[in-house]
């Protein structure tokens, strides 16, 4: 009778927002790390510090800008975009590729970053890493409402920096999930339809953001 319903799946996906940004702050001093697990840990410590910072009068917008900068430097947005489009990537022109990379990172940014506001000291631990040449997998875990949620990062080496190209929450790959949706949209509405839908999504997210601020 144990089964997974719509809601628990939703909760897994929701944790994506946390996966992006939240880890435990073990107060380890920053060091020039070459291991993927350390690099992710360091980036995340920086973000946690920003989230915990309690300067009077500081706006969320200011914090958000700083966080976005850190997150962007840790993501391989071109690799991510390419994997999301998969077979449809080859059919795109150079300009279309550029546009898609930019649109998709905006979609992720506007969807997930504001959820960080509700960060409340959720505990995140890094478990282990497996490295194979220029690719690696980093295992971590977040505890939310007394339940552990495994979060796995796929990273690739880019001149000494390990950049994230997929996040897997409870076995659900972000890239594959978007790929399935985009495949269907391209099939039904064409690539132009997808671009339109992404633009709409970004607008919609920004609108929601404004409304929740008021």
């Amino acid at each position: 009778m144990k089964k997974i319903n719509k809601l628990s799946i939703a909760s897994l996906l929701m944790s994506l927002s946390l996966a992006f940004f939240v880890f435990i702050n073990t107060a380890v001093p920053c060091h020039a790390a070459n291991e993927p697990i350390d690099q992710l840990h360091d980036s995340v410590n920086l973000i946690i510090d920003i989230l915990r910072r309690n300067d009077p009068g500081e706006q969320w917008v200011t914090k958000k800008e700083e966080i976005v900068k850190i997150v962007k430097s840790r993501f391989a947005s071109d690799e991510l975009a390419q994997r999301v489009l998969a077979l449809n990537w080859r059919a795109r022109t150079g300009q279309e590729k550029e546009q898609f990379i930019s649109l998709f990172s905006q979609v992720l940014e506007t969807t997930y970053i504001n959820r960080l506001k509700s960060y409340s000291d959720e505990e995140v631990t890094f478990k282990k890493q497996i490295v194979n040449n220029d690719k690696a997998i980093v295992y971590s875990e977040i505890v939310k409402n007394n339940q552990e949620i495994p979060i796995v990062y796929r990273v690739k080496d880019d001149k000494g920096q390990w950049l994230i190209y997929d996040i897997i929450i409870e076995g659900v790959s972000l890239v594959q999930n978007y790929r399935q949706q985009f495949d269907q949209i391209i099939k039904n509405e064409g690539y132009d339809g997808l671009v339109r839908r992404m633009e709409e999504k970004i607008q919609e997210n920004k609108q929601n953001d404004i409304e929740t601020h008021e």
Partner: protein
Amino acid sequence: MIKNIVNAKLIAVLVLLLVLVSGWDNHRLFRVNFQSSAWAADEMGDAAFLDDELDEQEAGVEVSDPLEPVNRFFFHFNDKLYFWALKPVARAYGAVLPQDIRICIRNAFHNLFFPVRFVNNVLQGKFKNAGIEASRFVINTTAGVAGFGDPAKDVFGLEIKEEDLGQTFGYWGIGNGIYFCWPVLGPSTMRDSFGLFGDSYLSPLGWVMQNDLEDGLALYGGKQVNNTSLVIGDYEAFLQSSFDPYISLRDAYIQYRQSKVKDSKQNNKIY
């Protein structure tokens, strides 16, 4: 007694049917056997494991969905059910009961489903895990006061060994079959639906339902309301993050179950 025999026969027939309909996934079965022997001989290298992981990523998991129009209908039905009934009720309930208590209630329900986890661990030959589940049940039912607390984990470090019949079927090499989105119950596949049906004979909730449907439904509803109250906002966030929530949920379900079945196999290699 006779009823039990009839039920057992029914289950046997259904399992047989499931095997025929879904087809044995011979290829995967072979690969697993190969892998487990590799593990038995010597631990597989990290690099090989990573390659495997990366390959899987490229291949992806998909499910056939010939009933998509019907499934979409029930997806929307469930969506409305959440926003019009489940969420308002769970909200009111959450406003009355503190979160700690609701987590305890969730624990207690989870504890009740011990037979499902125990039997499925045994069916997959994971006797150590079955033993861990049995210890968890004994400790949590006594020291944890009818399962409201989880001292088995907090004090003894015994982690939950989640298994259900759908996972067991997957472990045996049975494929997903087609995708279903059931009203109220949500996403499932042919394999997992048979699994759910079989597990209902092992679950206290199923026993209550057989004796008194009304009580059973009330209990089920209570469980859903309690557990939903702990994840309010998650479904909304999920909707916000997706372009086509139906496909996003279908894929998430398939990926999630796939990873559970894979975990099952890896656990087996270790023990």
